[in-house]
Amino acid sequence: MKVPPVFEYVRVDSLNDLYKNVNQYSFPLIISGGTVAVLMLKNRVIRPDAVIDISGIEDLNVLNLDKEKDEVFMGSNIKLYRLKSLLPDDSASELVTKSASTVGDIAIRSVGSVGGNVCLGDPGNDLPVALTAIGAYAVIGSQESIRRVPVSDFYVKPFKNVLKKGEILLGVSYKRLYGYRTSYKKHFLNFLDHYVGIVAALAKVEGKSIKDLRMAAAGEAIGTPVKIDISGFSSVDDAVSIKKKLIDCLNSLPMHDDRFGTIKFKKRILSALMFQAIDEVLGP
C-alpha cells in the first residue's frame, strides 16, 4: 500500500485565501483535481509541507468569452471532461477539445483539471501541445499582479514551469480561430505508459491556398511543447516541401537516446505523426 508523506491539508475558497496560504508555506502543493499530484505524493516524488486544495474557488471554475477581443478564458478549476460541452464553436476550441478528450479515461477527465494538465509540465500532457499550437497564453496571478505568458514559453524544462513563489495559474486564454482544419495525433508506448510523440496542427485553407498553418509537438521524444515553424508555404501543393521542412525542424530539435527509444526511433515516430497531421489539415 502506497501512503503519501505527512503534510498539512488546506482548503481555500477564495483567491485571497489562496495567496495568503501560498506565501505561508515553504513548499505548498496546489491541487484542483489532484489525480497526478496524489500519485506523485504516493510515490513520494514530491514532499510538500502543505497541500492546498483550490477546487472550491468558484472564480477559477469559469469559462469566459470576451466578445470584444474574441477570446476564450478557461479557468484552472474547470474539469477536462466538461470542456467538450463548455467550449464555444470555433477551430481553436475544437483543437483544445480534441486534446482534452484523449487525456486518460473518463474517470481521470472528470476529476483532472485544466490547471493541473497545464501546470504539471509532463511531456505527455495533452493540453499544452494544443494550446501551444493555437498561440494560447497562461494567465498567472499573484497577490500583486496578473501577467500573461505564452504557453510556448511557460515551461523551463519537463516538470518545471515559470511560476514563481506566490504565483498561481489562474487559467488559460486564447483567441478564437475560424475556418481551420485541426488535427491531434499521439503515439503511446504501452509498456512504458508514456507518449513518445504528440502533434497538434491546424490550417486555414481556401481553395488550394494556405492562409495559415500552425503546428506544435511534444512528448517524451522532445520534452516540453515546441512550436514547429512551417510558415512561408502558400499552396497545398507544397505538401512535399512542407514535409521536408518538418524533417529539418525535427533534426534541429535536441533529442537523446534513452529508455523511450533511440533518436532514430523518436524521429520516425514524430515525423509520421507530423505527416499524418499535415495530410489531415491540408488534405481534401
Binding site: 502506497k2 501512503v3 482548503r11 491541487i31 486518460g104 474517470a107 472528470s110
Partner: protein, 155 residues
C-alpha cells in the same frame, strides 16, 4: 483533521490524517470493502466510485478532497440489496470471474446507462478504457452493459 463524508447517502465522520486516501476511508473507516485497491496508479479502476455523479478513481484522491461531495460505491448501486440493471446483467451473463474489477465495471456501466445517449458496443468499449480485467476478456462485460441499456430502454 476531522472530515465528514457522505457515502451512499450516509454520513461518516472521522478524525483522519490529511494524507489518507479516499479509497482507504471508504474501506477502513466506512467499512465498505466492495471498493478495491488494485494498481494504486489510477490505471485499473478497481477503486472506482461515483463522485457527485461522475466516475472517479478513489486511489487518486485524498479523503479530505471528497468533503461536501456525494460518493456512491458499488454497495450503493444495489438499493435494498437489489442489484441494479447493470449488476444484474453482469451476473446473468457471468461476465465477471474473480470479481476484483466488479466495482469498476458496475460503476462505469451504471454511469454509461445514465449519461450516454447512444449506447452500443464501441461506445461502451471506449468508455470502459479506464477499467482493467485480467480474467474475463471484456467481451461479456461489454455485452452485459449493452444488454442492460437495451432492457432499460424497453422499460
Amino acid at each position: 483533521m476531522k472530515v465528514k463524508l457522505n457515502i451512499n447517502g450516509k454520513d461518516y465522520e472521522s478524525e483522519i490524517e490529511p494524507r489518507m486516501l479516499l479509497v482507504d476511508f471508504i474501506r477502513d473507516v466506512a467499512g465498505l470493502k466492495g471498493t478495491h485497491v488494485g494498481c494504486e496508479t489510477g490505471s485499473c479502476g478497481a477503486c472506482m466510485v461515483l463522485l457527485d455523479g461522475m466516475p472517479a478513481k478513489s486511489c487518486l484522491m485524498l479523503a479530505a478532497q471528497a468533503q461536501g461531495k456525494k460518493i456512491v460505491t458499488i454497495e450503493g448501486l444495489s438499493a435494498g440489496g437489489k442489484l441494479n440493471s447493470v449488476q444484474r446483467s453482469l451476473s446473468e451473463r457471468k461476465a465477471l470471474q474473480c470479481g476484483f474489477c466488479a466495482a469498476g465495471f458496475s460503476i462505469m456501466g451504471t454511469w454509461i446507462l445514465e449519461n450516454e445517449r447512444e449506447i452500443d458496443y464501441e461506445k461502451v468499449k471506449t468508455d470502459l478504457a479506464g477499467v482493467v480485467c485480467r480474467c474475463s476478456g471484456y467481451e461479456r462485460v461489454i455485452d452485459s452493459i449493452v444488454e442492460a441499456a437495451k432492457n432499460e430502454r424497453k422499460n
